[in-house]
């Protein structure tokens, strides 16, 4: 059978082989190699233990359980056990500390890094029926060397949210985040996307791979504008509270923030910058050597369904890669440009991507914050 072909190629220890044989009643093992294969397939469909998922806050039993309810219902003996990751580096440190997970969710800029790290293995697209409904541009972005390492899921844009009653932008540009007229009313995002945005604004050809001289210009630019910034947010809740309270009028934001502020009745615009917004996509990745690969595929398939997609959009206001999912909110639908499947790639947007000099970008950003 083609199904599970990659899974069958995984080295199997003697102990595991005996377990598999036991699962098949022992007969298959005695019957010869064909019997071994049959027993193996049988056991893989009956993987044991709870599925170990490493995911972000809000994507476990703290609100996001609807997204994988179908999985838990189908595999009551192997319900997902969620551990929270605070960011990709935090996930990396957990792996290095020896913690075992079956799958986790880094964002698109990290797919290549993890694919090259040897920590993950590609998915078997045939085991994820909902994959065919996922945005093909996002699916392609999850590939590395022709293999599907990332299964896209939640997504959004990095754009600018501002109060229309307080702010009059000179143009639709990221420049609004650096506008001297609004000193003390601006919020930046606490991430290396700020150097990326600065690079776009400064007109660098490839803002994800800036030269040393360009990085110096970026750092000088951000440092010179830091006095305008009141808040450097790392949590959406923090930013939304400050925005709703009127403490900030302009912020780097995601579509969810726009929808949340609209829901509060604030006069806001979610501005699409002329530099083309950066788009981000969450990708499920399969940890190498997981003892529950089939369950992991089933879990990701549950997250990828149109029903889960709509729930995510309606409740978290993020986009979902399933093109059949449409949010109830027309504001969100417009912000995500759901009528255009190419909205996340050029010429409409810049899909976030691998940063070869990530450590240098991080250092730069930390020094901007410390300055």
């Amino acid at each position: 059978m083609d199904e599970g072909h990659d899974l069958l190629e995984r080295p199997i220890s003697r102990e595991r082989l005996l377990k598999l044989a036991a699962a098949a009643g022992g007969a298959g093992l005695i019957a010869g190699s064909a019997g071994v294969a049959g027993a193996t397939r049988h056991a893989l469909s009956a993987e044991t233990g709870r599925l170990q998922v490493l995911d972000w806050v809000g994507y476990g039993y703290d609100g996001g359980q609807t997204m994988f309810a179908a999985y838990n219902k189908r595999y009551p003996q192997n319900k997902a056990q969620i551990t929270v990751m605070t960011n990709e580096a935090n996930a990396l440190s957990k792996f290095q500390a020896g913690q075992k997970f079956d799958l986790f969710r880094p964002y698109i800029g990290w797919v290549k890094y993890f694919a090259q790290s040897g920590l993950v293995e590609p998915w078997d697209p045939k085991l994820i029926p909902n994959l065919k409904h996922l945005n093909p541009y996002m699916v392609k972005a999850g590939q590395y060397q022709g293999k599907q390492y990332g299964i896209p899921n939640d997504w959004g844009f990095d754009e600018i949210l501002y109060r229309t009653d307080k702010v009059k932008p000179k143009s639709n540009s990221y420049a609004l985040l650096f506008d001297e007229r609004y000193k003390g009313k601006i919020a930046w995002f606490d991430d290396i996307e700020m150097p990326e945005i600065a690079g776009l604004l400064l007109g660098f050809k490839d803002t994800w791979n800036q030269t040393d001289a360009q990085l110096k210009k970026t750092q000088d630019f951000l440092t010179s504008k830091k006095h305008l910034v009141r808040l450097t947010w790392s949590s959406e809740t923090e930013m939304q509270q400050a925005f709703a309270a009127g403490d900030i009028w302009i912020s780097y934001a995601w579509p969810a923030d726009y929808a949340a502020m609209k829901a509060k009745g604030l006069p806001v615009v979610y501005m699409r910058p002329k530099e083309k917004p950066i788009a981000w996509v969450g990708n499920f990745m399969l940890l190498k050597g997981t003892p529950r690969p089939e369950l992991a595929h089933a879990y990701v398939d549950a997250w990828s369904s149109p029903k889960s997609g709509k729930w995510l959009e309606d409740n978290y206001y993020y986009g979902h890669a399933n093109t059949l999912a449409h949010p109830s909110s027309s504001d969100l639908s417009r912000a995500l440009q759901l009528n255009n499947p190419k909205a996340v790639v050029p010429p409409f947007a810049n899909l976030d991507r691998d940063i070869p000099k990530r450590a240098q970008y991080e250092k730069l950003w930390e020094q901007v914050k410390a300055s």
């Binding site: 605070t86 009141r230 450590a359």
Partner: protein, 301 residues
């Protein structure tokens, strides 16, 4: 027999049993300190020299991160900024807490322990809750600014924006949080003051102010120093309060340490340098100030 005679010549000694009281009492705390304090510090120090590394790449002993830290300037400036903020907070709340502790300890009020309990009552609620409550008070449309709008001191278009997400906000909230920690050591040192010394000063013609300056203040100095250190040391490395109310301007050294370890693509090497540097400075300060904390100076005798 010769052997017997030699035995008979041996001085009579009382057989002594080794005293294991001190080792047994100190053993557990020392082991605790070793495992949960010295070993982790050694590990962090090893990261600072790249002997241990977060990444999977090659690594070996190097002073690179220390060199960058000492010559780069950015982190040292941030450290100095945090030191200044901590100094301001510690000094102001010691000055504010002293009269309070003085009143509680020396006024003779029968309700001093009730008042003391009231002072520490906010500590019965969550730390985060107390800090977050300040956002409601200090925001652009918060309680204080609303009051200013009402009085006409400011217009709603121009609120006092420096109240929140600023160094001021961090220092104000830190002062509020740490005030009881400052008042308590001062209260204890004043409470243990030998009142006969004040009576003697009065009998010898000293005014109350003179007696305070020559007797009360010097004898309560250990309490003042302890109180100062209680605030100054933890607030240099503070990161929770600045991350909640500090915004971009109130970012402190402690935030930088956390960020270097936690966010984005971690730089544990630099983060460890910052952490060890902070530890060394705090240890030196403690050594310098510890001479003011000697028990002999607490008593009047």
């Amino acid at each position: 027999m010769a052997v017997d005679s030699r035995a008979g010549e041996l001085p009579r000694r009382k057989r002594q049993r080794p005293d294991l009281t001190a080792p047994s009492l100190l053993g557990l705390p020392l082991a605790w300190l070793a495992v949960f304090f010295f070993v982790p510090i050694a590990i962090v120090a090893a990261y600072s020299f790249d002997v241990l590394s977060f990444g999977t790449g090659t690594h070996a002993f190097t002073l690179r991160a220390w060199h960058d830290f000492l010559h780069g300037g950015v982190y040292l400036r941030l450290f100095w900024k945090s030191v200044k903020m901590s100094l301001i907070v510690s000094t102001i709340i010691v000055v504010l807490a002293y009269p309070l502790a003085y009143y509680l300890a020396l006024s003779g009020t029968r309700r001093k322990y009730v008042l003391l309990l009231l002072l520490i009552a906010p500590f019965l609620t969550s730390y985060l809750l107390r800090v977050l409550a300040w956002k409601v008070i200090l925001g652009d449309n918060g309680v204080l600014n609303s009051f200013f709008f009402w009085t006409g001191l400011r217009s709603p278009e121009h609120p006092f924006s420096q109240l929140l997400y600023s160094r001021f906000a961090v220092m104000l909230v830190l002062g509020y949080i740490w005030l009881p920690f400052v008042a308590l050591p001062i209260f204890v040192s004043l409470e243990s003051l030998d009142r006969r010394l004040l009576e003697a000063a009065s009998d010898l013609g000293a005014s109350r102010l003179y007696a305070f300056r020559r007797v009360t203040l010097p004898l309560s100095l250990p309490g003042i120093v302890a109180a100062f250190l209680f605030v100054f040391i933890p607030t240099i490395g503070e990161f929770v309060t600045p991350s909640l109310v500090g915004g971009a301007n109130g970012y402190m050294y402690g935030n930088q340490v956390v960020d270097l370890f936690e966010t984005g693509f971690p730089d544990w090497e630099t983060g460890s340098v910052l952490a060890i540097f902070l530890l060394v400075v705090v240890a030196l300060l403690t050594l310098v100030f510890s001479r003011f904390l000697q028990p002999k100076q607490v008593t009047a005798g």
